[in-house]
């Protein structure tokens, strides 16, 4: 079986985003022998894009470069990608599952008379049908969803669902520039972008997250969590209880109504482990729970459990991690 799989490229700090690369790695597997993986890019500048796409495994690259595509807007991107897809009829289109990526997946699917499956964490062929696995009901259930659209099957893919391909996995194939089909007039405009201050809240990309809950007692209790996160070069997360109490901004919230994260190491400090919190972190690679109640539900999903007082244990951890990382 050989298929043509498109991966819609998203910009990253240099070249293309990490999630785009992860998806390219998976796409290569899904395309099969003799299949094609095309990296499709929309943007105002093509610097480093084709190289990045090729290095991560794209066997073809299509660049649609236009000042009107500078920032993602549903209408312009749907128009450009939709026209190309109608023309070339790929079997599958994979899109990084950021908030904008999900908007694009839904919009593009509707424009192609088909359907999208969002936030996939697995993708597998069942015969000729591509099936995605995704969190349902805030991760309390896992849904297996088939896409049987008559046109391209569109899936958005969760960041960190798939491993980064080894550098140079690439096909080094053709790079083609195509003039994008764009709407005559722009009905949607980006006025400005106000970036979040500091990098501390980038939970999605963090390799390490140290999260605090009501067990920290009061807002000042977060100091021990901040210290441990700083020692590990990680980000600070939080339960909804402490966000609602105003101890820390919403941007830090992990869970069903906050962010879904999958770091290499998640350390939960004074968090009980309500099902809505677990929904946002249970797939983390290594989960450490620190709680004074040995029956706290957080221990059911943890890999390592420490029963005791956060104020006694967390500062010790900070000290010992610092020593270990310096040594």
């Amino acid at each position: 079986m050989s298929k043509t799989i498109w991966v819609v490229a998203q910009r990253g700090e240099s070249g293309i985003s990490r999630t785009t690369k992860e998806i390219l790695g998976k796409a290569k597997e899904l395309a099969g022998d003799g299949g094609a993986v095309a990296g499709i890019y929309c943007g105002a500048s093509k610097d480093g894009v084709a190289e990045g796409l090729q290095a991560a495994g794209a066997s073809q690259v299509v660049l649609m470069v236009d000042p009107k595509l500078d920032t993602y807007v549903a209408e312009t991107y749907t128009s450009a990608l939709g026209a190309l897809a109608r023309d070339r009829k790929p079997d599958v289109i994979l899109i990084p599952g950021t908030l904008n990526g999900k908007e694009l997946a839904a919009s593009l699917a509707a424009s192609l008379d088909g359907g999208a499956v969002q936030d996939c964490t697995h993708l597998d062929w069942d015969g000729d049908v591509l099936v995605g696995t995704r969190a349902f009901f805030g991760g309390n259930l896992t849904a297996t969803v088939e896409n049987r659209s008559s046109g391209p099957k569109i899936f958005s893919v969760k960041p960190k669902a798939f491993p980064l391909p080894a550098d140079g996995a690439g096909g080094g194939g053709d790079v083609e520039e195509v003039a994008p089909e764009l709407p005559a007039s722009a009905r949607t405009t980006v006025v400005e972008f106000l970036a979040d201050e500091g990098k501390t809240v980038n939970l999605i990309d963090a390799n390490v997250i140290v999260s605090g809950g009501r067990g920290l007692g009061d807002p000042e209790g977060f100091e021990i969590v901040n210290d441990l996160a700083a020692a590990l070069g990680g980000a600070v997360g939080a339960s909804r209880a402490v966000v609602d109490a105003g101890w820390i901004p919403y941007a830090h919230q992990v869970g069903q109504t906050g962010k879904t994260v999958k770091p290499k190491l998640y350390i939960a400090c004074g968090i009980s482990g309500a099902i809505q919190h677990l929904a946002g972190m249970r797939t983390s690679d290594n989960i450490v729970a620190i709680n004074k109640d040995e029956n706290a539900p957080i221990f059911k999903v943890a890999h390592y459990g420490l029963v005791g007082d956060v104020f006694e244990i967390v500062p010790e951890l900070t000290k010992k991690f610092k020593e270990a990382l310096q040594g």
């Binding site: 908030l99 936030d119 009901f137 297996t144 405009t189 059911k300 420490l306 010790e316 010992k320």
Partner: protein
């Protein structure tokens, strides 16, 4: 100003939720369905624009007659009219197909300036309907809105803030437009006792697919482009290693484990 808010019923809890042979999500033993917790935020957003600018707000859902309950709740909150699209052919519709139905209902109501949805449904979490609606109706879309900065019905423009992963984006679109709102955009009002009493007496018109001009073959189990094959509990955790000792000993052991695994 004319706004339409799309609401949705969801199972009360994930416990016992399953999927039927044709892809329809079911609650345990036919269990309880409630208004999606995000919907009051969508309704409040439309009502605040109405309070400031005048106009009318309509609520719509697609499903079966059971969903009349959530439409009465919308009426109790203060929407002017509620409409139910109920048709046996809807059974098994995925969010992509539901968008076709809601687009049909929007056209039937007609002359709208603003369509409002929640940013993601509590059960499905898909965030598909909003952007799909925009495509089907050929109007602009603004998803994940955390603030409506300005709504100008005369100049036919809306300005919003979207909260994205790494910052806040201010965007403007011409009206009519469709937006999805995030939790916390406004504090939803409680329905008044009078509102609840009045709502209980209102008739909720029910439309079939034929009434709204939607071809039944494009919706339901057969017309949906995607299908949930199964819903399963998440994979069982691998089992916890409880680390014991004094705080210092526990810390030392854990650091050892993490360093040995080369996690960092």
């Amino acid at each position: 100003m004319k706004a339409i808010v799309f609401v949705k019923e969801v199972p009360e809890t994930p416990e016992g939720v399953s999927v039927s042979e044709n892809g329809q999500v079911q609650a345990a033993g036919g269990g309880n369905f409630l208004t999606d917790p995000i919907d009051p935020f969508a309704i409040e957003t439309a009502l605040q624009i109405k309070d400031a600018k005048g106009g009318e707000v309509h609520a719509v859902t697609a499903g079966n007659s059971r969903a009349e309950k959530i439409l009465k709740e919308a009426l109790a909150m203060g929407v002017d009219n509620s409409y139910l699209v109920a048709d046996d052919a809807l059974e098994g519709s995925d969010p992509n197909a539901i968008a076709r139905v809601l687009a049909g209902a929007a056209k039937k109501i007609g002359d709208y300036d603003l369509l409002v949805t929640g940013d993601r449904a509590a059960d499905d979490n898909s965030s598909i309907v909003t952007a799909a609606l925009a495509q089907l109706l050929d109007i602009p879309v603004l998803t994940f809105v955390s603030e409506v900065v300005d709504f100008d019905a005369d100049a036919k423009k809306i300005r919003v803030v979207r909260t994205l992963e790494n910052g806040r984006q201010v965007m403007e679109a011409t009206l009519p437009a469709v937006i999805s709102v995030m939790k916390g955009i406004h504090e939803p009002r409680y329905p008044s006792l009078l509102g609840i009493r009045k709502a209980s007496k209102r008739e909720v018109p029910s439309w079939s697919l034929a009434d709204i001009g939607v071809d039944p073959s494009t919706v339901g189990a057969a017309g949906s482009p995607t299908k949930i094959r199964s819903l399963d509990p998440p994979p069982a955790p691998s089992g916890v290693e409880m680390i014991t000792g004094s705080p210092e000993e526990m810390a030392a052991t854990l650091v050892q484990r993490i360093m040995d695994k080369k996690v960092l």
